[in-house]
Symmetry: C2
Subunit: 201 residues, 2 copies
Amino acid sequence: MMSAEQQRSIPGYDYGSDELAASPVTLEDLELLKQAVLFTGEDERYLRMAGDVLESRTEQVLDVWYGFVGGHPHLLHYFTDTTTGEPDAEYLARVRERFAQWILDTCRRPYDQAWLDYQHEIALRHTDKKNRTDGALGTPPLVPLRYLIAFVHPLTATIRPFLAEGGHPADEVEKMHGAWFKAVTLQAALWSHPYAREGRF
Amino acid sequence: MMSAEQQRSIPGYDYGSDELAASPVTLEDLELLKQAVLFTGEDERYLRMAGDVLESRTEQVLDVWYGFVGGHPHLLHYFTDTTTGEPDAEYLARVRERFAQWILDTCRRPYDQAWLDYQHEIALRHTDKKNRTDGALGTPPLVPLRYLIAFVHPLTATIRPFLAEGGHPADEVEKMHGAWFKAVTLQAALWSHPYAREGRF
């Protein structure tokens, strides 16, 4: 776990802050959603293991993810200042730092009320609050739902080689990867809330 | 490919029908979405291979999927007649037959306009048109978006052992499974359309 001081050093990283809105998803809803992605206590254990493997590799993971986004103009678009047509470098850099922390939070945080509330904050930062945290006001105001869902695949598939670098036996790598896949899918489902029409979430 | 006659034998299976609405997603949008899930021509080839492996195993796959849904009351709920509190056996049976065909369509159909239009029909059958095709009017009128997204994981993870049964080398099984994962994620993204608030898809 990071100390409170380390957390404060990431701009816009408000995990656990009293300023955050409560998640519209209850802990009971979360429990049912975990069952729908087959998430169990074993997955929690393998996520902890994954966190230890990934801790020293988050920059390399982000290199791959940013390479992927940067290589596709229709994805880089959501980081692009539409007034200049240029990627917003500061916005990219600030999001990147939180994205690295997100990898570790996915692996290490307990999926409790504070975590649920921060998932809601992340959801809002893809929609109603996009750009606000980072003052990136020239970039598009929304990441479309279809891409939010689509990203379950690249965020899952590309993590595998990094998990394999930790020196664990193949069956443990497989279980870490499975737990990661479940955790990413679970979060994509939670992040879909502000996209959904009334009564459809 | 199935013959037209075989297709007609599945109740409610309207693939390619003139009665279907056109997808609100264009072929160009689809191309960009394929890029977001890293879907390439290689994946098409491995999906064809997966189709040959899965063709004789769809009933066993459906046994697993229905076992999973049936074992979770909050998921079986969407097949349950709320007036009687009992699962709607006819609805379950009719959906199952189309679900088996969906496995083969995912592997074998070209992802063209007809496929896109049928993805839209499937999306509507989870939302505005749920129950109508099968006259299952007592069951809930909607599968919530969060479960639609969540199902990317179980529909992907549980197919792996079946792909491994085809006698292909491990690297081919891996590639078939990767292609399947991409195809399922792509479809979940397409199916999210009728859930999304205006301008958020």
